[in-house]
Amino acid sequence: MRRGIAATALVATLALAATACGGDSGDSGEKKSSGKLSGTVTWWDTSTVGSEDKVFKKLAEGFEKKHPDVDVKYVNVPFGEAQNKFKNAAQSGSGAPDVIRAEVAWTPQFADLGYLAPLDGTTALKNEKDFLGQAAASTKYNGKTYAVPQVIDSMGLFYNEKIFKDAGVKVPRTIDELKSVSKKIKDKTGKTGLYLRGDDAYWFLSFLYGEGGDLVDAKKKTVTVDQEPGVKALKVVKDLVDSGAAKTDATDGWENMQASFKDGKAAMMINGPWAVADTFAGKEFKDKANLGITTVPAGSAGQGAPQGGHNLAVYAGSKNLDASYAFSEYMTSATSQALIAKELNLLPTRTSVYSQPDVSGNHIVGFFKPVVDKAVERPWIPETGSLFEPLKTEYTKVLTGQTTPEKGAKATGDSYRKLLKGWK
């Protein structure tokens, strides 16, 4: 009798453990063959919270009106975490969204890892020829298209017109001018000249390009970051910080930069169109005319700004591929892009949108379009997204005096060679 109880207890325990592990059969998105879309589309948006996200969320909800049977789940994932979060979810095969707003460099990387669904021939790429060639470049990998370009961008020098007037200075065109302007601003108004992000290597690129350098040369399969221009560029940023022309940081760079620029504590920052909506929310820029934007200061080899942007990519494991394709198409359609340009000053990726009156009249779009046209494209190889982490570490080390520009450049180059097997 007693043994009977024990055995029953054991069986019950094991059964309980077994059911706890199993389960989760998942809701296989009911797909009807009638061609009417239904199910759920989860979208991970990575736009700036507090300004951009509101517009994107509203736009995404518009898709539900067009397709009443589709439920769009909007999730804002902070840009800094999205790449890792998506990789974790996609690798384990659960929890990944159907559609993700992926930075241009992430796209070939995700595609290489097998996480993205190829979009050729699907509704997602409707009117494909309309996309700017530059924007479409990052969506291709191994002869297939893995994403739809949503916005394109580059960087410029943002400045505070009022502070410039108070200090009696003109807009700097070169790095030497930037230094003298900064000094005058400091002397006359006591404010910081330039706020330079020290915790993100993307903000270093315009200096690198300005000296004629680049991270890698994909055609020649050569690492170029540790060549002469790379070292020079690191020296330039270090000198800006050491001379007091620029203020930098190693933590919370984005928040600190935006806060000090928005509050009028710093007169200049290097930033892109994605920062415009947030900047206008600051008290210094209630009067929008106070925000001046110009091209990034030129280095010894000329001006250079990186080309960036975001694509919409569909997760290969999505249970609702058809709805996801349609959603990506909707979010990147000419109408949606015109709205985004109008509300957020972000640059469309479709040629046709630029001729619409709302867009052509937008002076921020008008300013950035020629900058984007001239912007330096990064090599769209799977490793592009991996190039920043080692550079970021060394860049911060140089700025905080833990290493020299020469050693920093060399260390970055060495880790690139480890990453890119067989490159020179």
Binding site: R2, R3, A6, A7, L10, T13, L14, A17, Q83, N84, K87, N88, A90, Q91, G93, Q109, D112, L113, G114, Y115, G198, D199, T248, D249, A250, T251, D252, N256, A259, S260, K265, Y315, A316, G317, S318, K319, G385, S386, E389, P390, T393, E394, T396, K397, L399, T400, G401, Q402, T403
Partner: protein
Amino acid sequence: MAVHTSQSVAKAAGDNVARGRSRGAGKPPGRFRRAVSVHWYAWTMIAPVVIVIGVIIGYPLGRGIYLSMTDANERNVERSIGVNHLPATYKFVGLDNYTDALTGNQFLSTLGWTLVWTVSCVSVTFVLGLTLANMLNRRIAGRSAYRMMLILPWAVPGFVSVFAWRFLYNEDRGLLNKLLAGGGIDAVPWLNDPTWAKFAVIVVNVWLGVPFMMVALLGGLQSIPGELYEAAEMDGASAWQRFRHITMPGLRSVSSTVVLLSTIWTFNMFPVIFLLTRGGPGEATQILVTQAYKFSFEISPRDFAMSSTWGVLILILLMVFAAVYRRALRKQGEVW
């Protein structure tokens, strides 16, 4: 241990089962089989625990050790993406990862700072905890209120306090620099300068660790009989002599335990470093665990092999430390 498990039932069960099982082979059952047949009831009862522990500790540990001897990374491990299933293609590479880690300078330099971090955190926490415990062990007005306040850092979730400190440390907008500015001192780049950042992370960890140290030592202090102090006072021992010869030996069993625990925790104190500086600026505050995390989550392609190698090395280091520490204590006559 097996002998003590509910004699009567085991015996009764043992008799039955032994008789029932003796089919076929005529030779007497081996030791293992006899143990199983006698104590099957006990084994059944602990089976769920053994299985659960095996699954949640044993499996990851074994898997980690295995991965550290392969070249597994994000691109060659097994993946299932929707309907696609990509098989694993990584290879066994033996001890290559360990040679790489131990001959390169990254591991050793990170280990260096990790040791500095651990030793300084533990020693400062211990001294502060001991001082506060001694202060609170006297009869002073509002003693329980002070105790509550000093335990507060412990009650707040770790990440909340770390984020609070991060706000305090902010160079432009942080409270600390505003206070300093009030005193006419220039802003300190708390988290932006390698030396200050090291100082800053240690301060936060000490702040988080003192309550535990204090409570544990206070408990120890209260277990020292008051007569000892009275007797010493009669003999004319000074305050320092009483502290040195009564308090310290009386606290030994408590303090040796808390120091060991605190060392292990601090060595692996991930949240403070990760949330405060992410190991930066540069790599200035990177400790072994945060670097291991970086290998498998921050760089891409994620290097699972190197990450597990560092994890195994951390485990070995801590095991060696615990063994040496225990031996040292035993030499001092500590039963532990």
